[in-house]
Structures are given as C-alpha cells and as structure tokens.
C-alpha cells in the first residue's frame, strides 16, 4: 500500500468538493420548491433536495472521518457516491417516464431538456470520478494481499 498515497489525497479532496456541490444542489432544489427561483433550470423538488442534503452530510462525515481514520472516510465516501449515482439514475427514469407520458398524451410543450433538470443528475456527474476512484481504493485496502499465498 505504498504507492497509494497520491490518489488518496486527490480523492479525499474531491470528496470535500462533492460534499459542497451536493449540498448546493440540494439547497437549490429546496429553494426552487419553496418558490424562490433563481432562473436556473433546476427541478423544484423539496423531498429530493432533502435527500441531496442528506447525502452531502454523509460526504461531510467522510471528510471529518478522513482526518482520523482512513477506512472510515473511504466507506462513507464510497456509499454516498454510490447512492448519489443510483438516485441520479432513478431521477432520469422518473423524468423519462413523465416525459414519455406527456408525449403520449399529446401535450403541446414537450421539453426534452426537462429530463436533465433534476439536481441529482448534476451532483451525480461531479461524483462519478470520486465513485470510480474510491471503489478501487475500497477493495485494495480491505482485502489484505496476504490472504492466500
């Protein structure tokens, strides 16, 4: 585990960035849902925003844990990014379903962009590199190489 120090630092820092971006994404969804609009094309969604804030708290916990114990931050960062990506996938499914329904019902203003409006998707894109990096790290640090000679 000697040459893993480098990516560690980057991934740890990236966790902090993702924590922040996820929090902002959640906050924007909640504010849009409460009727305070910023003119951004973000889906107003109060429960969804709360979930994003929850995920940002888990990322935040990862950052705090990283200061003392290493496996801890990796697991929090891994699970949070996994959930974020899974939920982003779910959002695409939900919006896709709504869009398809709108098209089939022959609504006039069908906006293809609306499929990308959930804040989950934007927060998710930022978390993709983190997920890839951390999942590799997770397996490396958890299975000891001396398991089977």
């Amino acid at each position: 585990m000697s040459n893993t120090t480098y990516p560690h630092k980057y991934l740890y820092g990236w966790t902090g960035i993702v924590a922040l971006s996820t929090f902002i994404a959640g906050l924007l969804s909640i504010l849009e849902g409460a009727g305070i609009a910023f003119g951004l094309s973000i889906l107003p969604d109060i429960p969804g925003g709360c979930i994003l804030v929850l995920l940002s708290l888990i990322f935040g916990t990862a950052v705090l844990k990283g200061r003392s114990d290493r496996p801890g931050w990796i697991s929090f960062s891994y699970v949070a990014s996994l959930l974020l990506l899974a939920f982003a996938g779910c959002s695409i499914l939900v919006e896709g379903g709504n869009l398809l329904t709108a098209i089939m019902e022959g609504e006039e203003e069908v906006n293809l962009i609306s499929i990308l409006s959930p804040a989950f998707i934007w927060a998710g894109i930022i978390a993709i590199p983190l997920y890839i990096g951390v999942s590799k790290l997770m397996y490396k640090c958890s299975y000891r190489s001396d398991c089977c000679e």
Binding site: L83, L93, T101, M104, Y143, C147
Partner: protein, 662 residues
C-alpha cells in the same frame, strides 16, 4: 426406470434455489434475503433410466425448528423417507454449514454434500480441500457452481450412486461427552422395544433428539403413555445443560472438519463491513432507507404511467371498433361493459404492480433489505413489532398476499399474529386506482397530497393497531431480533426481470381471474332483471346497494358507493370497475361522479379511507386464514379491519367537514 426422491437441504441463502433451478430446469426466483423459500418446491429431472424427484426445502440452520419454515424442513426430513438428502454447503461459510451437516448425518439417510463455490468464494480466493472434507465426514462431496450449473452432472451421478448402495451409512461419529452417550444408549435401548411409535426415526436418533430437547417428539411419546428413562426424571436446568453439551459437541465436530479442509482465511476488514458501517449508521441508517423508498415510489408511479396511457389508448380503439359494428344491444352491453370493462380493470394496475415487483427484487438482490430490517428494528420494537415484520410491511405496499406469506420468517406466534393483522392496512397497489379516481375528481391539483395522506394514514393505523394488540392482547415484549445479514451482491437486471415476470404472472393469474370474474358478476347484477335500465336503482345491484345503504348512511355513502364496497371484498380493483358500471360507463365515470349531488369532497375522502382500511380482498383473506391456522384469529383480523375502517371513516367525515367546505 427407477424413481429417486431427493431432498435439498441447507442453510438459508446458500444457493439452494439456484441449484434447484439448474437441476430441474425451472426458473424459481432466488432471493438474497434469508427465508425466500418458505414452502417446499418440487421439481423433476430425467436422466437416462432414472427420474429424479427433487424437493427444495426451506433454508434452516439446524433441525430444532423454531420458525414455521424450519418446521416444514424438519418434518420433510424426518417423515418423508427420501432416497437421499443433498446438502448444499456454502464454501464461504463452511463451519456454520457443517453444523447442519452434523445433524443431518445422525438421521442416517444416504447423503451427498454439494459444495457450492459462489461468486463470493471465487472473489475471496477461498480454497477448500474437498477430498479432505469427504474423507473426514465419510460423505461424498461434489464441487459445484450453482449459478452456472458447473458440476451438476457429477452431482447427479453421485446421487444415483449413493442411492444404489446397499450398505447402511457410516458417517463420522459426533463425540458427545461420556455421560450424554450413556444416557443416549439407555433411552435408545428402551425405545427399540417401541419402534412402531417412532415412525421413520431410528431409536438411536430418537434418543438424541429427546436429549437435545425435542418437545414435539417427547409429547408424542408421552401421549402414547411411555415413561422415558432419564428424561422424565431430569429437571429443566439439567436438560438445558445437556442440550448445550450436545450443541457444543456438534460445533467442535464442524470446527475440527473445517480446520482441516479450509486452506485460507480472510483479511481483517472486508468491503461489506465498511459498507455496513454507513448503511446501518445510527443517524444515517433510517434517512438513507427512507430516501430509497421515496425513489422506489416515484419510479413506480412515473415509470408505469406511459404504459397506462398506452393501455387506455388501446381500449379507446377497441370501443370505437365496437361502435362501428351492428349488434344486439344486449351483446354489445356484455362486450363493452362486461368483457372490455373487465379486462380493462385487470390491465390498468398491471404496470405499477410489475414495476413495484422489479424494484423490490432489485433491492432484495443487493442484500440491502436485510440491513433495512436491522435499521428499522428499534423503531418497530418501540411500537410493539419485530424488526423482521418490516419486510412483510414493505411487500404489502405491492400486494398483501405475498406480504402475509412472508411473515413465516418470524419466530414468535404473537409477533406473527400482530404482523398479519396489521399488514392489510398497508395500502396495496390495487387500492391505488380508487384513490386516483376519487382524488382526481374531487381534489384536483391536491390529488397527490391526498393519496400520500392515505398511505401515511394506513401506516399510522397499522402502528396504532400494533400498539393496541401488543399492550392489551399479547402482553409480552416482541422477541429479540436476530438475523443473518446476507452478502452484498450486484443486482442483475436479468434476474430481477425474471423474478418480476414470475411474480407478476402468478399475481395476474390469481388476481386476474378473480377481478375479471368480479367485473362480469357486477355486469350481470347491473343488467338483470331483464328490461331494467343498465345499472339503475331497479337492477339487482341497485337493490343490493339499497339494502345495505342505511348501514353506511352515517358515513354519507350513497347506494352506488355501497355496491362498490361490496364488490371490493372480491378485489379492490373491482371497486372502480363496478362504479363505472353503475354510473353508466367507465369513460363518463369522472364527470358523472363530479355531477352527483349526493357526493362531496369530504364524502369522497371518507370513502377512500374506508376502502383503504376495511378488508384486503378474498385472496388475502384466504392467505390470512391459512397462515393464522384458525378461524378465531382470522375473524378477529377481519373484524378489526372493518371496525377500524368504520370508525376512522366516520371521524374523517366529521373532522373533515370542519375544514373542507360542504
């Protein structure tokens, strides 16, 4: 031509069902939640001149039979006299698996061990010396990979070979402490003069079972008037001690065999441990779970919507085609209102049921559901329910019938009864069309909130009911929560789809026939006696509604709504169908409801509340009766539902009218 009957035994979640599928070439769903197989499944395989009849037993850790599914397994092993027992042993967890082996060996049936190298064992590069295992236990061991069918042929050959052997089995002996051995011999000797009472058990094995505390067997022998030496003179504390000695001896045996056979052990920390630390976190655990549920519901509704629109579109075309053809008005009514209406009522809820099933099976496959049960245990415990009750509740949102069957994993009878009584308050997918109709007509833009309120109300009523039953009927605490957590797995889309198809098909078969039949009966009641206006007051349905209507007058329901409720006993989907019939056609239903002067938003709300709570459906009723095993509790369960529904609907009507203008 020779018939061979074999039993598949093993711990929960070791790949029994997967092996069963590849043996018999069927597609039973394999879960990643302990206790997926709750009843015996039977299958058949033809090899040359042999017919192999395979029974897949529920997973069990031992033969002591605490839960109903374990009892099923034990009874099959002890009484059905199979030609051979095949135990599936999970390579990642040999020691615990061998504990069951030590018990199976003592029954004295021909045995084969199928050593399953699961994905996980590969991943962890576990190496097992199968020959050493075989030599030690003196039981044939066949290495298989259940998931891709590797080694199945060899397993079948070994099974045939074992059953053709004429010599009695001679397995490794378990070394009990000397005192235990002498008592076993003493009891065994005594029992050999009463062999006829023992059924398929050998006297020696019966003696061991008595020593380890098989109350079932003991009671049976006492009922026959036997005085069992030693056992009957023992005090309970001493007997507990003996039972523990036997347990320990078995563990020592399995440990000893494991040490010789397993060549490699694991590292200190495993990925699953790390993931568990987050998913079952004391603060994050419940919010994470609620988030998953929120998305599951979102997807269920939005992803099934396009299918619904498509189905409606198709039915529009059908109706138009019908209108273009000349025919007798009676036949037209039968086809349009009866047949098409009936098929329509079945089809409208199919997409959401299927989506619900696929989401649940994906969640289960990942191994997360068991963690969710753990996370929810504290909360469930505080309202008088068991943590494991939680999964049946979740399934209940899809359909109450499998939910009630899933309560078999609960050990204590009180826990099971309370769970079964409260499951029908979980709003199953079939109730949704009723809400969609009434909330849509009477609450417009607030419909979504009203529907959400109904789901929450159902959960609240379930919680309050559970608390009442726990406090006033069963005064004990819920039994302690102990559960194996399955390994995490990547869910496979294909497996989930197969599972969805299988479950959905089963559901369609059962519900489809009932609902379709129900709608046809409604049509007949609305049409006859011949000559009356369709669905009018003078039809049979109208007369029926008017007879019962006074009962529901305090709730403000008119006779059409009452007829809907009566048919709702058959299935909740029929409610919308029958109202459609009574209000002159499904297409005009929304406008006719809105125009009916006897209805108002508050009455609609009370009606939805009543539909939510009063009675699940005949299919669920049948399963409740089957699982509770007696009429007393079945009647209490049903009576409680109707009582609660009446009270809550009454309160809704009167409190609601304060807030919602008449």
């Amino acid at each position: 031509m020779k018939d061979i009957r074999i039993l598949l035994a093993g711990n929960p979640n070791v790949g029994k069902t997967t092996l069963f599928n590849s043996l018999c070439g069927v597609h039973q769903h394999t879960g990643n939640y302990p206790g997926v197989t709750v009843e015996i499944k039977e299958g058949k395989r033809q090899i040359n001149d042999h017919s192999l009849f395979v029974s897949d037993l529920p997973g069990t850790y031992s033969l002591s039979a605490f839960t109903p599914d374990e009892q099923v397994a034990r009874d099959a092993l002890l009484t059905s006299n199979p030609d051979a027992v095949v135990q599936i042993v999970d390579a990642t967890n040999i020691e615990r698996n061998l504990f069951l082996t030590t018990q199976l060996m003592e029954i004295g049936l021909p045995m084969v061990i199928a050593l399953n190298m699961s994905d996980l064992a590969d991943e962890q590069k576990i190496t097992i010396d199968a020959e050493c295992l075989e030599k030690n236990l003196k039981i044939p061991v066949v290495r298989i990979v259940a998931r891709n069918g590797e080694g199945i042929e060899k397993l079948v050959d070994t099974i045939i070979r074992v059953t053709e052997k004429k010599t009695p089995v001679d397995y490794k002996k378990i070394e009990y402490p000397h005192s235990v051995t002498t008592h076993i011999a003493e009891i065994g000797n005594y029992l050999s003069s009463h062999v006829s009472l023992l059924g398929k058990l050998s006297p020696h094995y019966a003696a061991i079972r008595l020593m380890e505390g098989d109350e079932h067997l003991e009671k049976m022998l006492h009922d026959q008037g036997l005085v069992i030496p030693f056992i009957d003179k023992c005090d309970p504390a001493e007997r507990d001690g003996i039972a523990e000695d036997i347990l320990l001896a078995r563990y020592r045996t399995s440990e000893e065999v494991t040490t010789c056979a397993v060549k490699c052990s694991m590292g200190a920390v495993m990925p699953a441990d790390l993931i568990d630390q987050v998913l079952t976190h004391r603060l994050f655990g419940i919010p994470i779970f609620l988030s998953c549920m929120w998305f599951a519901f979102q997807i269920t509704f939005s992803a099934s919507n396009p299918f619904l629109v498509g189905i409606e579109y198709l039915f529009g075309i059908f109706t138009e085609m019908m209108n273009g053809v000349e025919m007798d008005p009676f036949i037209r009514s039968f086809l349009a209102d009866g047949v098409i209406g009936g098929v329509g009522s079945v089809l409208v809820f199919v997409p959401s049921i299927f989506v619900m099933f696929i989401l649940l099976s994906i969640l289960e496959d990942t191994g997360y559901l068991a963690r969710a049960a753990f996370v929810m245990d504290r909360f469930m415990h505080s309202v008088g329910l068991h943590g494991k009750s939680f999964i049946p509740f979740l399934i209940g949102f899809g359909c109450n019938v499998p939910a009630i069957m899933a309560t078999r994993t609960l050990q204590s009878k009180a826990d099971r009864i309370i769970t079964i009584i409260t499951i029908p308050f979980m709003s199953c997918a079939a109730r949704l069309p009723v809400y969609v109709l009434f909330a849509g007509v009477f609450f417009g833009a607030a419909a979504g909130n009203v529907i959400f309120f109904l789901y929450v109300l159902g959960i609240a009523v379930a919680i309050i009911s559970a608390m009442i039953f726990r406090r006033f009927v069963f005064r004990d605490e819920p039994s302690p929560f102990i559960m194996e957590l399955p390994p995490y797995r990547k869910p496979s889309g294909l497996a989930a789809a197969v599972h969805m198809w299988y479950k959905g098909k089963e559901y369609l078969k059962r519900a489809g026939i009932v609902i379709f039949g129900g709608v046809l009966v409604v049509w007949a009641l609305a049409t006859f006696p011949v000559g009356v206006e369709y669905g009018s007051v003078d039809s049979l349905a109208g007369i029926l509604g008017q007879v019962f209507q006074p009962l529901f007058a305090p709730l403000g329901f008119n006779w059409q709504l009452v007829v809907g409720l009566i048919f709702g006993f058959v299935a909740k989907e029929v409610v919308v169908g029958s109202l459609g019939t009574l209000y002159g056609g499904e297409e005009m239903l929304e406008s006719s409801l809105a125009a009916d002067p006897t209805l108002s938003p508050v009455i609609a709300l009370a009606y939805m509340v009543f539909v939510l709570l009063y009675f699940p459906c005949v299919a669920a009723f049948g399963v409740i009766r089957q699982e509770l095993g007696n009429w007393k509790w079945t009647c209490i369960a049903v009576g409680w539902g109707i009582l609660v529904a009446y009270i809550v609907a009454f309160i809704t009507l009167h409190v609601g009218s304060l807030f919602i203008g008449a």
